[in-house]
């Protein structure tokens, strides 16, 4: 797929980097990014002759592995103590994210051949308004629901983003209402374009999830800090790629509505953390198109935590992939899939206003 991003011939841009190696070398580099790249991240870039970027990716691998080992060892030695689990679990999650991102970045940088084209020098900003309407399928071994309508709106007021969304089951027995408020602290926003994909934002979310068929509803208040980092900071071959991460905390109250029985409310809290590696799509795709592979530590959404046998059971979150493709400045499509306690997959139509 990465190779297919490079359909057009290089354009002569004044500030373009020197032309990249030919396709044969890139195929070889991509292979090296896989093997031995899975062990030695950056191998693809070494084959390309881009040693500095390769070194940085290898360093990132080492840092990521160190974070995972340090966090994992800390969790083991402390018996996952409630007093230290937050920093140690976060260290482990982000370490795994850094480790994996270095591997994926090496593949991307080795395979992509269109890095000198005009898209890589465009300035962009989010659209002022965006709406999404789609279908989501959820396969769960525990809950009977499966088919959902998904709606989402996104409105920017200066640096502030307001984003209500709704999942509603076809049968009407399950609905997830969510309101997300984000303040962009750094990076582009409508009216302020930026060449880099970087941003930092603070998020505040309120979610009400109603399980009518099972007589309970969960209401969750959460806060997170989210950031995206353009990988062109690492090297020119990684233009168009980014990593994204977030860290937050949520507090939930579950209330019950069993017929004829009074059941007290129950309370719980959650660590929120995500790590993602993404690519900006280009070629025929309009600006704002991207695909992202992510890990989400969230345990309270439809996908929830991964079911694993053995020692890690219950701890891990879910994996997923999300993409959006805009045909022009207004219309696009989106698709996503997630794998955790349930399999979630679906597609949407996107409409936006206010040129990105």
């Amino acid at each position: 797929m990465l190779l297919s991003l490079s359909a057009q011939a290089p354009a002569a841009e004044p500030d373009a980097e020197p032309s990249r190696p030919g396709s044969g070398r890139r195929v070889l580099a991509t292979g090296a990014a896989l093997v031995p790249g899975v062990i030695v991240h950056g191998s693809g870039h070494y084959v390309l002759g881009e040693t500095e970027t390769g070194n940085k990716l290898l360093l990132a691998e080492g840092i990521g592995a160190g974070m995972v080992l340090g966090g994992g060892l800390g969790l083991f030695l402390t018996g996952a103590s409630r007093h230290t689990v937050l920093p140690l679990a976060s260290l482990t999650i982000f370490g795994a994210g850094v480790f994996t991102s270095a591997f994926l970045a090496d593949i991307y940088g080795s395979a992509a051949s269109d890095l000198d084209e005009p898209w890589s020098h465009e300035w962009s900003a989010p659209a002022r308004f965006e709406s999404e309407l789609g279908y989501r399928y959820v396969n769960s071994a525990v809950f009977a629901y499966s088919d959902f309508v998904f709606q989402r709106f996104e409105l920017w007021l200066g640096r502030t983003r307001i984003e209500p969304s709704l999942w509603s089951s076809f049968e009407g027995d399950n609905a997830r209402y969510r309101l997300l408020l984000s303040g962009r602290l750094l990076g582009a926003y409508p009216g302020f374009r930026h060449k880099l994909l970087d941003f930092v934002e603070a998020e505040l979310g309120l979610t009400h999830h109603r399980y009518a068929a099972d007589f309970f509803e969960r209401t969750t208040l959460e806060g997170s800090l989210r950031g995206r980092w353009d990988l062109r900071h690492v090297g020119p071959s990684l233009r168009g790629a980014f990593v994204e991460g977030s860290l937050g905390y949520a507090r939930n109250v579950t209330s019950f509505d069993f017929p004829g029985v009074n059941v007290e409310s129950d309370y719980d809290d959650l660590l929120l953390a995500t790590m993602a590696f993404g690519i900006r799509l280009r070629g025929p795709a309009a600006i704002g198109s991207e695909v992202m592979f992510f890990y989400d530590h969230r345990h309270d959404d439809f996908a929830a935590g991964m079911l694993m046998e053995g020692l890690g059971g219950g701890v891990g979150g879910h994996l997923g992939m999300r993409g959006r493709w805009f045909f022009d400045e207004r219309f696009g499509v989106a698709a996503e899939s997630m794998f955790g306690s349930a399999i979630v997959a679906g597609a949407s139509i996107l409409v936006r206003e206010g040129s990105p």
Partner: protein
């Protein structure tokens, strides 16, 4: 092209990691060998050995009934051993002469059965099994790598007065190997009362799990002195769909009485950011609500290597993972077990933590 549906099937199968174990639950207590067949009602005992002359059962509950179909002629003798038995348990049945033989340890009962016909309907139950009132039981979980040291915990439990049985919430062993499971059962010979337990995630170190061959079902329910005890296999941080169905029945049966529910991984960890709990909070909320709506009186868990007393939607809840596995630091709990006083009318009367390494 075949890889995509194959991958989809693989992913869907990953959504029921405990499916094999719930199927295995249904096989526990049923065996047929050498022309002899034995069926324990509700799978409340494991058939460890089945022959024409010798039968060995491992009890997973205080009281249970079984059917023995033996091809022997009238007057033939069969040796029956019941391991992990209530010390005051009595074997009874019609159409058979039962002679109790002297035992070496209190939880091993030996009998000589003289057949007069077949099939035989037999029952094993403590003298006071059906009588209500107050009694005590202890809770111990998460022994794991400390299996060599569990003997002194059993010694301390023996010193605790009037404990009827030891209840377990999983992680008996580090990896669930034959050797470790057998060692646990050997160590139990030092305990004066029987041990009824479910499995933990550490018993899943072998595939398929060997646990059922030694200790029996992961999910089951029994009644002792009018109090219902239900143990659920949550070792994969979820309940299998089949277990959810069984649970509905057990909750219905226990609705009008006192009901204690145990599982290894708690639906929700009191320290939610750690998430030593179910993989899905929605499933956890569904389970907690279901238990509370059915009037469950007490929930007990393991998995977290410390002691927590909290509530699940108003149900008194306890986590006790003090069997000796790497302890949760900075809480000064260490190796421990918990003793519960419970009454068939009034539910939980009291609980106390007994620290072993003081």
């Amino acid at each position: 092209m075949r890889t995509i549906p194959g991958l989809a099937l693989l992913l869907v199968s990953c959504l029921r990691p405990a499916e094999d174990r719930s199927e295995r639950d249904l096989e526990v207590g049923h065996a047929s060998r050498h022309g002899v067949s034995l069926d324990v009602d509700d799978g409340l005992a494991v058939v460890r050995e089945l022959g024409r002359e010798r039968i060995v059962l491992w009890a997973s509950a205080p009281a249970w009934t079984f059917t023995l179909d033996h091809p022997g002629a009238a007057g033939d003798g069969v040796a029956l051993e019941i391991h992990n038995a209530m010390p005051d348990g009595v074997l009874g049945g019609e159409g058979v002469t039962i002679e109790e033989l002297p035992g070496i340890v209190s939880t091993r009962k030996s009998y000589r059965l003289t057949l007069t016909g077949s099939p035989l309907r037999l029952s094993f139950m403590p003298a006071n099994a059906a009588r209500g009132g107050s009694f005590r039981f202890a809770l111990l979980s998460d022994v794991q790598e400390a299996l060599d040291r569990v003997g002194d915990i059993f010694e301390r439990i023996n010193a605790e007065p009037d404990v009827s049985f030891l209840f377990g919430a999983g992680d008996l062993t580090e990896q669930g190997t034959h050797e470790q499971l057998q060692q646990y059962q050997d160590e139990l010979l030092a305990l004066n009362v029987p041990y009824y337990t479910t499995l933990g995630n550490h018993e899943l170190g072998q595939s398929p799990s060997l646990y059922h061959d030694y200790f029996g079902r992961g999910s089951f329910s029994f009644v002792y002195r009018q109090v219902r005890f239900t143990l659920l296999d949550s070792a994969s941080a979820t309940l299998d769909r089949a277990v959810w169905d069984w649970l509905d029945g057990w909750l219905e049966q226990g609705r009008n009485g006192v009901h204690v529910v145990s599982m290894h991984i708690a639906p929700i960890d009191p320290s939610g950011v750690r998430n030593g709990s179910f993989a899905s909070r929605a499933e956890a909320s569904k389970l907690i609500g279901t238990l509370a709506a059915a009037g469950v009186d007490l929930t007990v868990y393991g998995h977290v290597h410390s002691y927590y007393a909290f509530e699940n939607a108003g149900i008194p809840a306890f986590i006790s993972g003090g069997g000796g596995a790497v302890p949760e630091r900075f809480d000064d709990v260490g190796r421990h077990f918990v003793v519960f006083d419970i009454d068939s009318q009034d539910g939980l009367l009291a609980s106390k933590v007994v620290q072993v390494d003081d």
